[in-house]
Amino acid sequence: MSKEVPTNTTTAWAASYEEEPSQASVPPQANGVTALKPLGWAPVNWAKANLFNTPLNTALTVLCLAILWFTVPPMVNWLLLNAVWSGSSEACREAAGACWSIIAVKHRLIFFGTYPYEEQWRPFLACGLFVAMLGISGVRAFWRPALSVAWALVLIAMGVLMWGGILGLTYVANDRWGGLPITLMLSVFAIALAFPLSILLALGRQSSLPAIRTFCIGFIELMRGVPLVSVLFMASVMFPLFLPEGVTVDKLLRALAGLTLFTAAYLAEAVRGGLQAIPKGQYEAADALGLSYWQKTRLIVLPQALRIVIPPIVNQFISCFKDTSLVTIVGLYDLLTAATVATTDPEWRPYFAEVYVFAGMIFWLFCFSMSRYSQWLERLANRYTRR
């Protein structure tokens, strides 16, 4: 603790309130009032207030500056200034910086895995369509039934692009798919399939019928109690045993099934949160109007509950997106596997850091933008409910 008068802004834990100082009595229109300000240059005042306001903070600021001084220049040197952007691995060996030529050489492998080289425009186009659809789905103005039709069309188009076999496209079996398309498709399909399942599970968990309630609770708690890895193992080694002789399901579908069941359990809890947030009066009003259980659920309860749970669903989508990297453990060729494979080439073996930085940046970009989006949605929802 610094020797400072403990007014409301100098205590460490109260600091975050500084953004909105306790001036409840101050009306916004008063900002225009001209005032005699304490003299000083704005950035200097800002630095004094935010970096050097107490001895402790001054010490911390100096420490941070020191860390920056020692880390930023070497990082910039490595990442940019001394980096090799193209050329052979020999060029890299002489350079002090990052060897981005490994990305230049291997990016097709990292993005598309072992998909036939000349045909890689197909997964590229598919991913482009996909990301565009994700972007469009984020805009409220497009939230209408036509969007689901558009999604269905895009998914069909993606299937056609990836598999081929019609329209003059050569057939590519899905054990040759890899990289980014696998990551994107697994996460989107898992969420899309898990969503209806999770609604049923959440409704079942709230049901007054004990058999159904017990089953739903059991399933949800089982899935939430075990690691995804074990669910994926189960999916990859046990599903084949469940099926009648001679029927086989391919690896990708098995992993998708595991991921879907796992995600559904977590989503069900989010949906349950939404169901519980609906005032009891809504159920009573629906009953009083003479609606049946399914009418009540479909027309009154779900429309309200789902609006509340959109941000948690986006968060679940982010985890699902990150979790797809686990399918590498059951032998699928996702973005992370592709990146790891790229680092095992003897010629480029020393440059693993570059590849992982690159792969990490792709994951980060997707996850960070989605988490920002979900925060924005939450603020939006709060604004509506506050009124």
């Binding site: 205590t11 460490a12 996850c367």
Partner: protein, 385 residues
Amino acid sequence: MSNLIQALNSARVRGWLYQGLFLAGALAVAGYLVSNTLTNLANRGVATGFGFLEREAGFEIGESLMSYAASDTYLRALVVGLLNTLSVSAAAVVLATVLGVAIGVARLSSNWMVGRFAAVFVETVRNVPLLLQLVVWYTIMNRLPSPREALEVVPHVFLSNRGMKFPVLADHPGHGWAFLALLAGIAAAIAIVRYGRRRREATGKPFPTLPAAIAAVVLPPVAVFVATGAPLALDVPALAGFNFEGGGSVTPEFTALLIGLSVYTAGFIAEIVRSGILAVPHGQTEAGLALGLSPVQILRLVILPQALRVIVPPLTSQYLNLTKNSSLAVAIGYPDLVSVTNTSANQTGQVVEAVAMMMAVYLVISLCIAGFMNWYNRRVALVTR
């Protein structure tokens, strides 16, 4: 007939009917799957049942907290795996909590730069898959130089691709006694803190709780240590041939997993701590100030008791997540429960039993943590009307 129709309209009868149909359907599906499974297993010539647990495992395990050899049973191998899971999780929980709390508090710092630093950390580790982070840590560990060119970070602490080697105190009976004295000291310190608080409340007189508690923790072990002749001999790791001998060590797998899990989970814990502290309204701090409480007293008596109610439930579920995430060990070859189960299943073909056991163990861990959480929530729930 009309009676039957009337009965079908009764809500209760309908309820039973739906449940009956549901159960019948579920049983039919389950029966179908089980019969398929049994047929498939019989065709593959795989035995069923848990008899395999008694058989010889026949594989080595890289690291183990208890004695284990390839000639031991599968059961023992699985217990070794479980202990490895628990030990890495426990260590990571401690590290992640320390790191997470520090970063969460740093994010709230009135120092703009410290806040930014913490925010960048949180946004980076939370938005990159844990598996990628683990692979990176493991790759770094593996690409360290060989023991002969090991990095000596601090004197006598060596980092090489065989893991980290560090000096430990050479075995001496005095250490055991000093450790016991330390435990006794900790117990005494807890008692002192409780007594100090009660005395303060009873008499209002300040009581030197902190110095007394520190003294209780520090003095007894030091006294015992000196009394037993201060056995300070160090067992220092030294290069012998291609590897180190002596000293303590942790494997690269363990180190990578520990760092990866701790850093990743710390990002989430930081956010929990931050929102927990923010959840306490600012008026509480002001009321404390107006009553003349000092900032430290406000933190201890007003803010923390309220913030902890918000923090502990999500914190325990992060601990649970961390324990479950430790199963990613399988990707970097740390012999945790999943990895050992996997090996056992591959060798015996008894996949169903192995996966069921693994899931059961994780479920038990989850239920224990959930039980604790419910108990805590009941204990601290705020009374409102």
